[in-house]
Amino acid sequence: MKRTGTVRIMALFLAVLMLCGAFGVSTSAASTSDSLIGGTSSEELKAILNAASYLEYSSKFYTTDNAGNQITVYEKGAEAIVLDAKDVFSYSDGKYTYRYDKEKSSFYYVDDAGAIVYVTESEVAVRLGSYADREDVLLSPANGTLTWEVTIPQTGRYAMEIVYYPLGENSTSIERTLYINGKVPFDQARYLTLSKIWEYEYPLDEDGNPTFKQDINGNEIKPSAVTAPEWTTVSFTDPNGFYQGAFEFVFDNEGKSNVTHTLALTSTRESMYIDSIRLYPYEEAQSYEDVLAMYEANGWQAASSDAQIRFEAEKPYRVSDTSVFAANDRSSAVNSPISSGSQLLNVLGNTSYDTIGQWASYKFTVPEDGLYSISIRCKQDKLAGMYTSRTIRLAGGIYGDTLAVPFAEAYNARFNYDKAWQIATLGDGESVFQFYFQKGVEYTMALDVSLGTLAETIETVEDSLNIINNCYLEILKLTGAEPDEYRDYKFSRVMPETVRNLLRQYKVLDGVSKELTELSGSKGAHVATLDKVSFLLYTMGYHEDKIAANLSDLKSYIGTLGTWLNSSKQQSLMMDYIVVCGVGETTYEASYEAQLDEKKYPENASFLQSIGFEISSFFMSFFVDYDQMGITDDIVDVSDKSIEVWLATGRDQANIWRGIFNSEFTADTGIAIDLKLVTAGTLLPSVLAKQGPDVYMGLDSSSVINYAIRSAVVPITKYVEQDSEILNDFNDACMGPLIMLGEYYGVPETVSFSMMFYRKDALANLGISVPQTWDDLLTAVPVLQSSNMLIGLTRNYNMFLYQAGGDRWEKGGSGYGTEEFVGTQYEGTKYTDLMQDEKFSSYFDYMTIGYGTNTALDTFKYMCRFYTDYGFPVTFDAANRFRTGEMPLVISDAVGMYNQLTVFATEIRGLWMFTKVPGTVRSDGKNYQTSIAGVTAVIMMNGVEDADSSWEFIKWQVSPDVQSYYGNNMVSLIGPSAKYATANMNALLKMSWTTEEYNELYSQFQELALIPNYPGAYIIDRYLEFAFLNSYNDGLEPVEQLEGYVKTINKEITRKREEFDLPVLEDDREKTIDDSIDAYLAYLKEISEKDPGALDGYSDLVKEYVKNYEV
């Protein structure tokens, strides 16, 4: 068998080759990258990045003398000072600074000439007057700055408390930046957050208890939420949850007494009324020990253990925002309530009750006076090996009128990790809390998401991450992204501080890891992440020669650490019900253990219960019609009309839409919506088979035109004209691509366009301003490249073309108005007057492309140079490289990139922003920062049965309210990465963008270009790509390349237009526009002879011409 030896060896060799291939597949998916830091253009940006944290700020309250004794530098303020809203010093909206004249009850400003100008209420956003039962309260609009003057008797530190009344129906919270004497005292004061208050509208059952509405199949429907604004008093606290208690602000009189300081609030998000601001000396909450002592001193006894009240967690009295809502959970057969056949809302917080600042509150009364404990049936299965925290706030009886933390430990109510359900009694891990409640008093308890004792740890890691990020950037600047591991870069000589920092952070992270292990008693996977990172830092710090080799690992570990931080901050807790139970035995001991009857309050279902439940659920699943989900009796009663709507998105989106359709549209109009989720690409065959829908949502504009020209889409011009106010919601760039031959074929739903993303840190470090023009951008290239950085430019020739004033199409019929004929190549032609007829002239639009003009060719060359001369990469992973800081400038799709960065690059949160794309300065001196819009539309399909109802639906669906409602719902259900790119300009304002983000988006919205897609348009991008790649790969002259294709493109367009009997203009220039018109008149004559109605819609002039036309 010797002969097979060779064969075997060959076979094995080939096998190994194949194996390598297969192995490659599995490993290829894993590449990641991360990192960095930089800086931006302006000095202001640097200021933001370098601001001190509150930790640093508050450390200056005290100092230590030589003997090690603590000396207080800034004493607490002596007594409270109240700033009344009506004493406001000024309001500035960026243009003028307004003062208030109390005698005239009016605001005024001093104009440039020095004259005093009084303004009416409509002229200025700020207002002072009565609102919601209070006199003299001040409206703080969503932008501008309000300033007060305050006289402080002696240097001191004060906490600050504001009495406010939230406005607006958006689900975003109110955000303000605080300035003291023109300076933001510390970083967190930039984003002071005040929550709004929301209430669910529960229908009441016969006994007056809140319930949920049910659909025809017995599924419970989430109630709608309304804002329940009221005058609220809160202290300014840390929105990130790192510091418990109120912030203290220093007012330094520098030794003098009675010095006047200014205090300013700049709006970043949302508006509110302000009644007053109180500066007061802050007292820390008493300890639980003291509270127990107080119970004992008062002789308060335990309530009997039979004194129990229980309420369902899914029906909170109030919530901080609408993302805290009731949901259905079937993970246990003893959830309350539960049904195997229908979806009952039975838990709160299985999706998003995990972000700092969210809260839910409950009202209850107790049957007898005494001491009680509070237990919650809950599940915490997200943060393995750690615990999540809630802050308890109480109001009523001895706890006062406003919700307040009863004792210091209540900041850290702790819920340990358990994969199963548990009944947890509120406590901080060491002691279990007892509360004193009285019969007949109505109590309110709020549970706020908080970081608890983890706060410090998390902040340490966050700081550490920032430093590591900086180190990485420093190293990157020296070595580039792919360092040579055999080269000696001499790190410790070039950047000793960086190397030391690596070691310092190794110690920090190692310490944190040990601390966490001690806290939770075991080393979970969560903690192991920190060990991995700290070990790498150790290796790099102690062995300088390993720095280069491990740089890419460091990059990916920075990302891991970012993700770690993010998941640690998510304090999720799913709650089923809450039991307030008498303590039973008076002990005044912190170590009391609550004893709940296990039969009455089981933690988990028994084996038999679970089996029974699963089996019955399985069989019930055959009877549940998920398409009917959410349809209620009253809808069935009122619907006599029905339209079929298709959309091709995800299931989540479809469910949200279905909910909105049923609860808002059908309930109001009586038109039932049969919503079907289909896969993209189903539309064409269904139209072919005449099985199509009435309305289709989300079709891209080029398909709309493709379908429309083949009469598969119904023109909706008459409806648009009848409801012309709908046009106010959309700009031309969005509407334009849906117009063909003078008819509207759809209404825009979403829009996508490019914007420029920049890393504030990287730009600031390099001293580069955010580029406004392409020339600015090119100036920055050498600076970036010398730091081994690049710019990511997603190729978009049309963007350059429209900025330069070019046009994708040569002016067609609409351009040949009588005046415009003069001076053009068509001057003196016969048919100038015919072009007065809009319908007629629209047939002569877009006959040839405009890429052959000088502007177009120059622009193309200019764009190619970015890649050929300046070395911009053609292919790149924008999000990844932006995250690592290798590409501090990226021009990419705005909403898509934003969503991706929000979840994917958590470690650089706050270090980036987006703005308008760089522009081209035209000869008129103006900078055109045009971006190109891509639109998807809602359309009415041919074969629609009830066109009026369908239009009713379309009009409603694209309205600002519905669009923003949907967008906000997406964000609260799916998370901040589910921002919805609505095409409705007026909806944008109501969505959860910050004011800064909104302003940028809105201004780009104003500079979008309209690019109509016409028959044959598909060919354009194809050849454009060829022209670019030929010049890029082979160094061919771009102008020649593009010019060479113009003729080919025109030929295809002409061929395609002929298919639809549209007039054509041959590109050989032998033919003139008159020849086209001649030919078209002949065509019209021919068809009108067969069918006289064919000329409907044309002016008499055209009819006259056609009639008299002789071949």
């Binding site: 064969v7 076979a11 080939l14 291939g21 590449s31 083949r710 053609v874 790149f876 790649l1029």
Partner: protein
């Protein structure tokens, strides 16, 4: 009397028309027809009808949404006389067919032959490894990662590290590389069902034939292969050949996935792509049916040639 004679005379083929005879035979064999019926109906509805319909459509102008218009042989005239890209596509298709067809066919056979020599357990494992690329659907995407135009693509990254190139090469967007790379990928993915059927065929060969042949004077393994192995597994060879042809002419999805659609300057544009272009993007189903018909004829023709060639095996 004559009546009686007539009754007694046996029924013969001559007494009936062709149709009557057929009908009679069908009744006689009705069980067989019943059994073949379900398949024939399905085959007719889902294979014969579409082909026939497609041939019909090739004489029309049809945009998928409106009723077809008859245009006679216009489509064929345009295809052969006024479509440069079609000629280019034919060239590319033939190149792909020549490579993925014969080369992969021979390669499949050789590898199958080698593997067949391995002990059964190892053979099973090695078979799986070779067959894996064609079962795991879009596994060829690994090539797009290896040859990504990004400077972080494996090949670009390696070449840049070695200092061979200083800017990334757009492998799948550069005319110089598209064709060679696509051929390599085509070969890599083509070891499919044909390869498996060869292994099966090799194992059905009766070992005693080899012994008999040795007695009859077969001198080496090549003779063994040519005179015994190949003729014995002619059915499998035929099966493999048909698959190889269909596969090589239908090669297109991989190119689209790797190079985008269409490939730069149509340099890897095949007839399949051309068909997609007109049918899918331009809504000219009439014209794309014409392309399909032409492709159909080419496949049919090459099938016949292969059949002829295979009949020569072993002679």
């Amino acid at each position: 009397m004559s009546q009686n004679e007539a009754v007694k005379r046996p029924v013969s083929r001559k007494d009936m028309t062709k149709w009557q005879w057929t009908w009679k035979e069908m009744k006689r064999n009705k069980t067989a027809y019943l059994m073949v019926g379900p398949f024939m109906i399905l085959f007719f509805v889902f294979t014969v009808l579409p082909v026939a319909f497609s041939i019909f459509l090739s004489f029309t102008e049809f945009n998928l949404l409106e009723w077809p218009k008859m245009v006679g042989v216009d489509n064929y005239v345009r295809l052969f006389l006024d479509d440069e890209i079609f000629i280019l596509a034919c060239k590319n298709t033939l190149i792909f067919a020549a490579i993925t067809g014969p080369v992969s066919y021979i390669l499949s056979f050789l590898i199958a032959w080698f593997i067949n020599e391995l002990p059964p357990k190892i053979r099973a494992v090695v078979t799986l490894i070779f067959y894996a690329p064609s079962i795991s659907g879009s596994v060829y995407m690994v090539w797009s990662i290896m040859f990504s135009g990004d400077s972080y693509g494996w090949v670009n990254g390696t070449l840049m590290n070695l200092g061979i190139i200083d800017t990334p090469i757009l492998w799948f967007q550069d005319e110089a590389y598209i064709m060679p790379l696509c051929c390599v990928v085509a070969l890599w993915t083509s070891l499919g069902t044909a390869f498996l059927s060869f292994i099966a065929g090799l194992q059905t060969i009766d070992k005693s034939l080899f012994e008999a042949a040795a007695v009859d004077g077969i001198r080496n393994r090549w003779q063994e292969l040519w005179y015994i192995t190949l003729p014995t597994m002619r059915p499998q060879l035929m099966f493999g050949a048909v698959l190889a042809i269909t596969q090589s002419f239908g090669f297109g999805g991989v190119v689209t996935a790797l190079c985008g659609f269409p490939s730069l300057n149509y340099c890897a544009h095949t007839i399949m792509h051309h068909l997609d272009d007109y049918g899918g993007q331009r809504f000219e189903v009439g014209y794309s049916s014409t392309i399909a018909v032409v492709l159909f004829v080419i496949m049919l023709g090459s099938n016949m040639i292969i059949k002829k060639a295979l009949s020569k095996v072993g002679q």
